[in-house]
Symmetry: D3
Subunit: 131 residues, 6 copies
């Protein structure tokens, strides 16, 4: 179904396996999801993406759960089925409750709705909002 075959551990190069091992160790699970197995054909792109993801999604000024919800919001607006599924699962793993999931969806829907109305009206930005 993908535009490239997904690589199993047996098919992966040593460089790719090293990234898979880090994914496993970081997440405390043996499971390596399909995204990384599709990226496995290009160990350099695989590593760059994974290393950056670790930094961006790790603890910082924002809670990791909040980061996952922002990720789901972007992925939803972009219509990325895989990303919606994987980051909704990640948000749940980080503690998102059904009530939080539901409110997130309501906010996404509200934002989409006003994005459409504002764009249809071509509302000019208030001076007050400019930095």
């Amino acid at each position: 179904m993908a535009t490239v075959p997904l690589l199993s551990d047996e098919e992966a190069s040593a460089e790719t396996l090293a990234v898979f091992d880090d994914i496993r160790a970081t997440r405390g699970t043996d499971y390596v999801n399909n995204f990384w197995r599709a990226l496995a054909h290009d160990p350099a792109l695989l590593r760059a993406t994974w290393e950056r993801l670790k930094v961006v999604m790790g603890p910082g000024a924002l809670d990791p759960l909040v980061k996952e919800m922002i990720y789901v919001a972007v992925s939803t607006a972009n219509g990325c089925e895989y990303c919606v599924h994987s980051h909704t699962a990640a948000a749940r793993a980080k503690g998102m409750t059904p009530a939080q999931h539901s409110e997130m969806l309501a906010v996404i829907g509200m934002a989409m709705q006003t994005n459409g109305i504002v764009t249809g009206l071509q509302v000019p930005v208030d001076d007050l909002f400019k930095a």
Copy 2:
């Protein structure tokens, strides 16, 4: 610049003014921003949008600041200039720090990046992620 004229208080109908008054009272400010002044031509759409926004963006299972950041994330992915400005301003008013703003942008960028790579690869959803 908008596709309709923005209505001043003087030009607004009584129904529209009633919504403007509720916006002012709810937000504790005299300022009514351009989005509502453009919507003012249709008091029913204005009221429905405002009433729903109050419910969705108010306190609940998610923090109001988190809701604003989800709003900005969706608006950014949709390329809605007005919405990015107005909800970044709203997020700041609800306490978003420069470090949080910066991390939010990094997460949005990361999500956009992997949305593109996943879609280009057409990665199938892992069974594990399905509810």
Copy 3:
């Protein structure tokens, strides 16, 4: 502001002027809007786009005003500022009333909202809907 200069009649080639003349004759106005003046650098692309537009937007199974509203809806979802402005103006020229404009915006907003919620929920298509 454009990524190419807009061509005046004086700067346009004979091939480009022939298309400009057909735009003027078809629309019954002397005004040639900026889109065509930006396309004027490539007479072949200009002509192909204009000839196709005439066919697609002309009378047929759908009313020309309905076609303009579909055009605005797509342009709004894609965030195309120029297209929203030009086709809202075209819809008005074809008789769109303020009440119709307002309802169109409400439908666009409703569609955007449920697009977001459906995508966030990843709702599977009902068998009933399949052709």
Copy 4:
């Protein structure tokens, strides 16, 4: 496949069933489609979405069929598979002929095409188009 289980009538709460009943009565059918069954986990969001949909998509200044076509246009530009299917089905139920379907697709394609060319050229909005 969805990020939440779809609720059957047996699994639904009394509040949810009340909305399902109104959907059935309004549409004159026993069938409740998957979107509502996925939303059923949050009776408040379910009700708000359904109540608003009834108002927006009902008779008014625009014909209900025209509204469905605008809905399909937005859903297509946003790439929402479910929404394209469900609202194409709804448009057919409201009388859309194959010729109208085909013209709608041609207009959507035309709009997408010029959205892309205009954005690539960054054409400035003509003063004439501004309200």
Copy 5:
């Protein structure tokens, strides 16, 4: 699965078959892919789309492989699953190597990422970039 049935050669009209024959002759294959079989219900739209595609994607100032990669890039950003698959296959048929595929994906990801960050920051266009 499509919103219209796909037409076999037996079901196609004479006008549609003439286009199918040209697709076969131009591409040197007997296979007519699903896109054309879905468009087959409207011979005029089928012919206009195919005739235009031949012109746009043929040899010119850009290499046909480069054109396919631009096509994949647009289709990826728009989340069009069918188009990503069909034009990735076309790019491969025109010689795209795995290393080129991988670099294309990295560029798409980079562009998506900075599109998001730039839009979130609402960076004003430098005077230097204006034509």
Copy 6:
């Protein structure tokens, strides 16, 4: 206009200035464009973005000019005004001719058009296209 102030060299931190210097040296120009000046508030995000951009956009299996055109294609589909301007300028600096620019726009338009028609038709992917 941006959601953050753009930083001049005088306002930038030492870490930020080090990245600015590398941008200048790599590009052989004194000019640092607004994107980097807006990112300058977060030296870590600035550096990560710049370092990655250098790798991704540099020479490899694809020509740097082809990479810029892919970048413009994605940015156009996403409606990112700044990115369209800056990467069209970059493509020109790398040798894009007016004829190539024009063909790129025609391909983007063609892709957008068929993205819309395919999505409206919900065409299923041919088995032949699957990897």
